[in-house]
Symmetry: C2
Subunit: 156 residues, 2 copies
């Protein structure tokens, strides 16, 4: 099986997801050692969860299956270029490869304007459309101090 | 109650989260009409879920509580500047305000180098450290075509 095979599986999941009415036109599969170990489809509207994008769902499912918070030696195949949230999730999950088919420009043509969010990211927080306020609490670094001093912490 | 009050709640959650051993030093609260309607703390390692960051958890909890996939008229208070995944989640959840205390530079000093991920975002996919491949499938826009033609779709 090659990249084309797995990407078609992701695209098929996306198509079936729209037909089923469960959510947006996105699907993802996660492969380890040549085997599909988990899949995910967009279920934002059916689960009332704005984070339930295909890649996030697939990552959660794969990590549950692997009993790990990292996708060591895994490959993520997504029907479409990941949005910023999903790309961030992929970086935290640390797979060895990401493969996608449609681009964010294709997604934009269907009304999913991830590029707006990507643009916002490049701005200083105070210049974003999202009203963003920084509060300078004297306690703001306390959680990090306690973390740094903790012997029991599990780094991730 | 003002921003300072809610941000201290988020910081306290972060501190308690480290002490409990459940995960990283991050906490978030979501406020609607002056009331805390949901909270979230990092549980990446205890739940084996790399997406279980404080803001993502809080958003999921709030949406479940509101029975909605959007956080209309809500405010998100985070103990720390959101990582790219969480910032993306916040954009999809569409709250009216984001407030945070510690900055991503503070987080970096505790070993949470979100700025690496932010930098990766600014690069063309083929130039990122994450091995990223685009497959030009002839079916790649089919999910979007079916979505556009669907009468039953729920846009989000």
């Amino acid at each position: 099986m090659d990249d084309n095979y797995y990407i078609e599986q992701a695209i098929n999941l996306a198509i079936e997801n729209v037909k089923s009415g469960k959510g947006g036109p996105f699907g993802a599969v996660i492969v380890k050692n040549g085997e599909i170990i988990a899949t995910g489809t967009n279920s934002v509207t059916s689960e009332n969860d704005p984070t339930a994008h295909a890649e996030v769902k697939a990552i959660r499912n794969a990590c549950e299956m692997l009993n790990s918070y990292q996708l060591d030696d895994c490959e993520i195949y997504s029907s479409c270029e990941p949005c910023p949230m999903c790309l961030g999730a992929i970086y935290w999950a640390r797979p060895k490869k990401l493969v996608f088919a449609a681009t964010k420009e294709d997604a934009a043509s269907a009304g999913f304007d991830d590029s707006y969010i990507y643009k916002e990211f490049s701005l200083n927080p105070s210049h974003r459309h999202l009203n963003t306020i920084t509060v300078n609490s004297e306690n703001k670094t306390k959680p990090f101090d306690i973390w740094n001093d903790s012997q029991a912490k599990i780094e991730y």
